[in-house]
């Protein structure tokens, strides 16, 4: 599976792309593959403040519900409304399908996230191969 180098990652399987003070959040290819066919996404409202490590929504496949965890603290500036109609795009393009954008409260938090290589290693260890 591909984990773009330009993203940072959480152990809860979100990716974060940082551009100045703006962060864009999605879930990893591993996460979508583990969940299977995604049929439902619940996201916060624009303006909502979310705290690093807290849940900000959920992704549901036919079989399972998975909470979404905020990689960093920030204020939501945009949510991907198109996922209400076509949540399956997360399965086909997890790396290119964003869930929310936020303004980072503390950009230093990004340093605590995993690099692509570290995330890849983490997933390998977690799944035992």
């Amino acid at each position: 599976m591909a984990y773009p180098e330009k993203y940072r990652y959480t152990k809860e399987h979100e990716w974060l792309q940082v551009d100045g003070e703006t962060g864009t959040v999605g879930i990893t290819d591993y996460a979508q593959s583990s969940l299977g066919d995604i049929v439902f996404v619940e996201l916060p409202k624009v303006g909502q403040e979310i705290e690093a490590g807290s849940t900000f929504g959920s992704v549901e496949s036919v079989k399972a519900v998975s909470d979404l965890y905020a990689p960093v603290t920030g204020t939501v500036t945009a949510v991907n409304e198109s996922l209400n109609a076509t949540p399956e795009t997360i399965n086909t393009a997890a790396n290119d399908t964003w869930l929310i954008k936020l303004t980072l409260t503390n950009p230093d938090e990004v340093n605590g996230l995993l690099s692509a290589a570290d995330y890849d290693k983490f997933v390998s260890e977690e799944t035992g191969h």
């Binding site: 299977g36 066919d37 049929v39 439902f40 549901e60 496949s61 036919v62 079989k63 519900v65």
Partner: protein, 389 residues
């Protein structure tokens, strides 16, 4: 990547290596290492509704009862009336506790005079076998054999199931009616039990082939090859669950269990209180019926508001009072609605009654709808062709 080695504690069917080598996603299902999906749950579900799918259901158990008193034994053990079965016929039934709740639901096959096969669930195999032995303890003239490990059980399900299986057997499948079975050669194996049964709400067959690994994997491969022209897909337990849920078929541990009785589960039509033989659970059920029936019942729910009710979620009245629980809930991939089966008080069972399902702390509106949620279209009757003049 799938793990290449099964954890030792989990049990495996003879097709385990086949599933793993074909990159199925494996899960622990009732102590069995089973494929939950192959290519994708929705694709597999749709293949069964529109074409044909193949399932490994070898984890199901099988108990054979033979001997001059086997009918009497079956009548004592099971709630349906086995005296009505003809040789080559099967029916849905259940083993009950004295209080009318479920040991397990089963499919009973009449193999011959004094010869019955009870197909049981995977997660309850040992419990069921022990229960049968306990109920029949001291009864002479019946011999109980656990034949679970003798068979690899494959389910070929969908509108193209007959066309697929017909390529692999000389037995004419067309005359086999729903819930009837026969024996014949399949993929070169002799005396294979071929039953027109299943757990998907579609037409289909279940076949019982020898459980050795080479035979099992060969037959699996030959069925997939035969079905290729129809677009067959190997399917996992994920699709099996959503298919049975759309068809509102009970699953042990969900809609039926040792705390739920037959009438609550709406399975009274398979329970013959007046069959003339006392069966385990009969007295309790008669008392429940005489007292006016159960106080709660299983209903079908369709979510009205955005949200998916899932197994174990609370059901609330519109006032917010907790009135019941979802036993199985999921999106229905074919009917494209979020559906659930749930237990609610009888006062809430009328069609179109609105309730709410508590989805992670939030009430989400749902309404009572008829079950099954999905009913397969009636098979088209071939037109009577006028003779050529």
């Amino acid at each position: 990547m799938p793990d290449l080695v099964t954890p030792i504690s989990l049990r495996r069917t003879s097709l385990n290596a086949t599933h793993r080598s074909h990159k199925a996603k494996m899960v622990d299902f009732g102590g069995w290492d089973m494929p939950v999906q192959y290519s994708g749950l929705i694709d597999e579900h749709m293949a069964v509704r529109e074409r044909v799918g193949l399932f490994d259901v070898s984890h199901m158990g099988d108990i054979q009862l033979r001997g001059p008193r086997s009918l009497e034994a079956v009548q004592r053990l099971l709630m349906n009336d086995a005296s009505k079965l003809q040789i080559g016929q099967a029916h849905y039934s259940a083993m009950l506790y004295e209080n009318g709740t479920f040991v397990d639901d089963v499919v009973l096959h009449k193999l011959g005079e004094n010869d019955y096969l009870i197909v049981i669930n995977a997660g309850t195999r040992e419990k069921d076998v022990q229960w049968v032995r306990k109920v029949l303890a001291g009864m002479s003239g019946v011999h109980v054999t656990d034949v679970s490990d003798y068979y690899t059980q494959l389910a070929i399900q969908g509108p193209k199931a007959q066309a697929t299986l017909q390529k692999l057997t000389g037995v004419d499948l067309a005359p086999i009616k729903n819930y009837w079975f026969t024996w014949g050669q399949v993929c070169g194996c002799h005396n294979v039990l071929i039953a027109r049964t299943g757990y998907t709400g579609e037409d289909g067959f279940e076949i019982y082939v020898p459980a050795d690994e080479p035979t099992s994997s060969r037959v699996w491969g030959e069925v997939l090859a035969a079905g290729a022209e129809f677009g067959i897909l190997p399917c996992g337990l994920g699709a099996r669950n959503t298919l049975r849920l759309e068809s509102a078929m009970a699953l042990y541990g969900h809609e039926i269990s040792d705390t739920i009785n037959v009438f609550e589960a709406n399975l009274g039509r398979y329970c013959k209180l007046d069959k003339g033989t006392d069966f385990v659970g009969r007295a309790a059920l008669q008392a429940i019926q005489d007292a006016g029936g159960p106080v709660r019942k299983l209903v079908g729910l369709e979510m009205i508001e955005r949200g998916i009710g899932r197994d174990g979620y609370p059901v609330l009245s519109l006032d917010g009072e907790r009135i019941g629980e979802v036993t199985s809930g999921s999106p229905g991939p074919f009917i494209k609605k979020n559906i659930a089966l749930a237990y609610v008080p009888v006062a809430y069972t009328a069609l179109d009654t609105e309730v709410a399902v508590e989805v992670r702390g939030q009430p989400v509106k749902a309404k009572v709808v008829p079950t099954p949620f999905y009913k397969r279209p009636k098979m088209a009757v071939p037109p009577i062709t006028a003779p050529l003049s």
